[in-house]
């Protein structure tokens, strides 16, 4: 048995080896051509991604006028400021809450879309994905107008139910709620599409088997759907965590960090300090705080992507 299995294998390895020696020259040409084809990509990544990334490490060690080396002075300064800790706290609250609700709503909506007859699904999917298609800067303007302090259409509607005018962006707690709401509105469709794609790939037989065993809907979700979707849930959540953590547009347009810096996240605060306050080194130090979280998420994504690659 083993011999039979080994035989074609040996033939398989021997032949290309002989071929390879005769094609040595062509191979050499091939690798040169390949290198030239990837050269623009390498230059782009090296000059405009890697170099700035390392340059920001250097920037973070300079003083405001960028003439003197201050070591970790910028970080020391940040640690002593209350606003910085407010930003750290808000970034974590913002990213974790928003990603959680995006994932939850995406999961629920994906099930509803999956539930209805196949020929109607396209229409619903098309409507539900619209928030993801509109540039976030544009749609956030619409939200800003919906939240307007004096002409808020939400408050107008709520007043019929006897609910008093809500300070959507004026009060710290409500402003935090509002930025998360807009982010969930924008990001949930992405989860919905990803989950829908993976729901379709779960074999129907598994549900039939579960139904025969007398599983109720909750057990079907818990023991069949979730394990089958685990990988895609993990990847989507990590992706979204990165994007949400690094979000800029929504917070910038909706509250610009206010009221009293309570909704600033790393990106908007770095912009406020680095570009508007023209303290580039301090701004660079602020944005560097995103790196650890991004790195952890990236490592996990890479592991999952590689695992998927091996399975395929």
């Amino acid at each position: 048995m083993a011999d039979v299995a080994l035989q074609p294998d040996r033939v398989g390895t021997a032949q290309p080896a002989r071929k390879r020696s005769s094609l040595q020259k062509a191979l050499k040409r091939k690798s040169t051509a390949a290198f030239l084809m990837t050269l623009p990509l390498i230059i782009l990544i090296a000059l405009l991604v890697l170099y700035p990334a390392f340059y920001s490490l250097h920037l973070a060690t300079l003083n405001k006028s960028m003439q003197r080396f201050v070591g970790l002075g910028n970080f020391e300064f940040l640690f002593k400021r209350d606003t910085f800790w407010l930003v750290v706290k808000q970034s974590c609250i913002f990213a974790i809450t928003a990603v959680f609700f995006k994932a939850l709503i995406g999961f629920i909506v994906a099930h509803f879309v999956h539930n209805i007859p196949a020929k109607g699904q396209r229409k619903w999917r098309g409507m539900l994905l619209v928030p993801w298609v509109i540039p976030p800067a544009m749609s956030t303007l619409a939200w800003l107008w919906l939240f307007d302090p004096s002409y808020s259409a939400f408050n107008y509607t709520l007043s019929f139910f006897g609910i008093g005018p809500i300070p959507w962006t004026g009060d710290a707690a409500w402003a935090r709620f509002s930025v998360i709401l807009v982010n969930v509105w924008y990001g949930a469709p992405f989860f919905m599409i990803m989950y829908l794609a993976s729901l379709k790939s779960v074999p129907e037989q598994l549900y039939e088997a579960a139904a025969i065993d007398g599983a109720n809907w909750w057990q079907r979700i818990w023991y069949v759907t979730l394990p089958m979707m685990r990988n895609i849930i993990a990847i989507t959540t990590l992706f979204s965590l990165i994007v949400t953590f690094a979000n800029f547009d929504i917070v910038r347009i909706l509250t610009a960090g206010g009221p009293l810096d309570h909704t600033h996240i790393f990106a908007t605060w770095a912009f406020r300090i680095g570009i508007e306050g023209s303290d580039i080194p301090l701004g660079a130090s602020v944005s560097l705080f995103m790196v650890p979280i991004l790195a952890v998420a990236a490592i996990f994504i890479l592991r999952d992507v590689n695992k998927r690659g091996n399975e395929a």
Binding site: K30, M138, W145, A197, L302
Partner: protein, 303 residues
């Protein structure tokens, strides 16, 4: 004992089975009900944009029902589409997006072909590196990039900051890694026999790419193009940092910096501008939804 339980279980089961189709009908009704709710939630801001864009400023500041247009008017559209400034933003956005899409495709398609088919020293590492670059967000790079371009201006005397074309250098950092990544996935799924046959017939590597790979992977190419266009059309942070003069602004930044004057919000025009700015991606999406979704899911599922 056990026979009793079976007896008991049998009728309840059949009863349950009989109600299954009714259960399904109710499940379906609930699905439609909740989907309608979610659809309203999703479409609320764009619909409200449209409602507001059809109102005159007088109607907006009057405390009438905000959800209804009593005196529809196109004055906001006329006002914006005849304003040179707004047309300039639109033109800048279109120019930047078209150039960025072209640059992105010229860089990422050959690179993806080389990484998918021509193994060379470091090619696997480079493919992983491309993917990692895609995970680096714009909000991490804007400060050092700003400084890099400022220094470049000081050294060479070529001032790029506050010119719309500086964006042509910067946007590819967002689009190229993702497009390369999904094109690697599409190219890798093409059977090896196809390009072997082409090579045997005497095609060069370049011909294999243009005659075999690009036509076969056309759906992937369209998805990547749509992605590059949407990203460059929607980008907000980089133009906000790099451009300040009103004749150099792109649409999202232009609307926010020129239509909001201090505390005065001209909401009718802002909503009209936002709707017009959202129109190109929405139109592309309406016609090419399947490619759009293919590109969206490919990022995380192709590996």
């Amino acid at each position: 004992m056990s026979s009793v339980t079976i007896d008991k279980a049998a009728p309840t089961r059949t009863v349950k089975y009989g109600s299954m189709s009714r259960d399904r009908k109710w499940a379906l009704r609930w699905s439609y009900f909740f989907l309608t709710l979610f659809a309203i939630f999703s479409l609320l801001p764009p619909i409200y944009m449209l409602i507001t864009s059809l109102k005159s400023s007088a109607e907006i500041s009057a405390a009438t029902n905000p959800w209804w247009v009593f005196h529809p008017t196109l004055e906001n559209y006329v006002g914006l589409l005849t304003s040179n400034q707004f047309l300039r933003f639109f033109w800048n956005s279109a120019l930047v997006s078209i150039f960025v899409v072209t640059i992105t495709m010229l860089i990422s398609v050959p690179a993806a072909f080389a990484l998918a088919r021509m193994r060379f020293w470091g090619s696997a590492t480079l493919a992983t590196g491309v993917f990692l670059t895609y995970l680096i967000p714009d909000s991490l790079l804007f400060i050092p990039l700003f400084k890099v371009f400022a220094l470049f201006g000081d050294w060479t005397g070529i001032q790029l900051i506050n010119r719309w074309y500086v964006l042509l250098f910067i946007y590819p950092t967002l689009t190229v890694p993702f497009c390369t990544w999904i094109m690697i996935g599409y190219f890798a799924s093409i059977p090896k026999e196809l390009d072997e046959a082409a090579i045997i017939d005497g095609a060069s590597w370049f011909q294999t790419l243009t005659r075999i790979f690009i036509p076969v992977a056309l759906p992937g190419l369209i998805a990547a193009t749509i992605f590059a266009f949407t990203v460059s059309w929607a980008q907000f942070l980089y133009p906000l940092v790099f451009t300040t003069s009103t004749d150099q602004l792109v649409l999202p930044v232009g609307i926010i910096t020129t239509l909001i004057k201090g505390d005065v919000f001209n909401w009718g025009q802002i909503m009209t501008g936002a709707l017009l700015g959202a129109a190109p991606p929405l139109i592309i999406y309406a016609f090419l939804m399947d490619y759009y979704i293919a590109g969206l899911t490919a990022g995380a599922t192709k590996g």
